[in-house]
Amino acid sequence: MPAEISSQDGFIAPKAFRRTRVIPGFTMSLGITIFFVSVIVIIPLLALLMRPWENGFSGFIDTLFDKRVFAALKISFLCSLLAALVNLFVGVLIAWVLVRYDFPGKKLVDAFIDMPFALPTAVSGIALSAIYAPNGWIGGFFDDFGIKIAYSPIGIFIALVFIGLPFIVRSVQPVLSELEAEVEEAAETLGASPLQTFNHVILPAIMPALLSGFSLAFARGMGEYGSVIFIAGNIPYVSEIAPLLIVVKLEEYDYAGAASVGIGMLMISFAILFALNLTQRYFAKKGL
């Protein structure tokens, strides 16, 4: 918009002259957007950011390093990391199969990849719990060998593997299918073995997508609640996840404590996102 409307040559700046936007609705659409974003996202998050300091910075630190909270954060972190790593391999493999092969049932498999997105977490939670409980289909089998899956960190890990799978597959799949088969064929004609082709040609190409899928799966795992709490058993220090501790603190009306745990979780998530973002930038610089 012109900062100043000149009135030389008898030119009177009319209203329309100041409106340099041709497409209508700027004020209204941006107004609605900012209203929603402020009321639904920004103000509530400010409430979260301002709450933990009630008992000073040391109160915040004390909460985070409280034995039970620290154990929960550690369990959430490790299970999410491990589940995301497993999904990294399995996700690439399934994406590869879906992109590179034709086989009966392919479209069905493709559609069902999104099931963990579509299925309400409480449903996945009770279903997984029923399967892996000591009297369940799989849980019963392992119970005979004295291995507990449900009500242990293994259960949390399994729930997070379930929830994280679509993130990796859906990140990698489009990149793989865009990758020209000719590039692979060129590598082959130059004498590369299939493994070499994968390592030197395909992997670098899908790396950025892989990293973003990984970070999404990890962040989801850190915050996941519904599909985990049923199978986890929620034994303090053993199989209690960080989000559950927020609920526990709220039940004790310890708002500051709940907010501290929440911020602790966000800090871990953002640290991972930031680290992966840096890695991605590094790859981007190499032109990948």
Binding site: P14, A16, V22
Partner: protein, 343 residues
């Protein structure tokens, strides 16, 4: 004068997209806005349409202050570079859109249908009413876009790079046809192009822009034969440069004398420019001494490349029938300009 533009200026982030532009257009004229990319030609067209506003200046159209009118009240027929056809509407619906938007003044159904039929006939697309844009070729889409723009009975027709997205054959054909439509409708028409051949061939007058300023506003003939600046000379055709001794209206190089067109009172040694077709090649030691580095055949003429003693490249074209077949690559020749410009 139908359209008068005065002192139009516009800054974009500190750089002057348009710098004090003034010119006027007569009723029914066909005007080209020509210039390299970044010269401001599209910005100027968008201002006429009301899609962009200047920082300063006036646009007057038949006594109306155009800048005070929003886009929809200007009654402008605009053909976009991408055509911007509504992809979910048939050809007929696209053409009818502007009429449908008139609210209470919306014409009757039969009138709209009549307009569609008439315009499709004008743009030679009879029978295409029910097609969707995706089912048309580039040239056909262009014509639908024009029909849609004409449907609102505009007082001014604006076209942004109307042939930009088409291949060479279709381009030439549509060019003639657009001129024909203009002559038939008598609409004041302004189009943007970066192709000097297109502008020279089509337009009554050409606004040649350079860096947001008008370099020259003239007919094709004037722009070709009387360029006002070296930029204009270079932009509309190829040329060569040489140092010549100038005395009055005559320049001479090494015994070869030739007239200087846009003479000044300058006298002495100065760089002149001449068109690649305004020179002859001789095997005498006259004019610009050079060595032939290439001879290329084309339809109807031959193109010579040469290098002078100072290492400058020269290009001359000569009609095939006038060609001295004894010349070959490597020969030392004299290049004789027939007419030159001094800037």
């Amino acid at each position: 004068m139908a359209l008068t533009i005065n002192n139009l200026s516009k800054q974009f982030a500190g750089f002057a997209a348009l710098n004090d532009i003034s010119f006027s257009v007569k009723e029914g004229e066909f005007i080209a806005l020509l210039g390299p990319s970044g010269s401001g030609k599209t910005t100027l067209l968008r201002m006429l349409a009301g899609l962009d506003y200047p920082d300063k200046g006036t646009i007057d159209f038949k006594g109306q202050n155009y800048l005070s009118l929003p886009v929809k009240e200007r009654k402008i027929g605009m053909v976009f570079q991408s055509y911007a056809l509504f992809r979910h509407m048939t050809v007929a619906k696209n053409i009818a859109f502007g009429l449908e938007m008139r609210g209470k003044n919306k014409p009757k159904r039969e009138e709209i249908n009549e307009t569609i039929t008439r315009l499709l006939k004008l743009v030679q697309l009879e029978g295409f009413e029910k097609r969707y844009p995706a089912q048309l070729s580039g040239g056909q889409r262009q014509r639908v876009a024009l029909a849609r723009a004409l449907a609102i009975n505009p007082s001014l027709l604006l076209l942004d790079e109307p042939f930009g997205a088409l291949d060479a054959m279709v381009r030439k054909e549509l060019r003639r046809w657009l001129r024909h439509i203009h002559d038939e409708t008598g609409l004041t028409t302004i189009f943007v192009t970066h192709d000097q051949e297109e502008a020279l061939d089509l337009a009554d007058r050409i606004v040649l822009l350079e860096g947001g300023k008008i370099a020259q506003y003239d007919t094709a003939d004037k722009i070709i034969n009387h360029p006002k600046s070296e930029f204009v000379f270079d932009f509309v055709g190829s040329g060569n440069a040489a140092d010549a001794d100038i005395k009055g209206e005559i320049a001479s190089i090494n015994g070869c004398e030739f007239p200087v067109v846009n003479l000044t009172n300058f006298s002495g040694r100065q760089k002149v420019k001449f068109r690649n077709y305004d020179a002859l090649i001789s095997n005498e030691e006259k004019g610009i001494k050079a060595q032939l580095t290439g001879i290329f055949a084309s339809t109807g003429f031959l193109r010579f490349e040469a290098i002078d003693n100072g290492g400058h490249h020269l290009e001359i074209i000569i009609p095939e029938r006038n060609f001295d077949h004894s010349l070959k690559v490597g020969d030392r020749v004299g290049i004789l300009p027939q007419k030159a410009y001094l800037f």
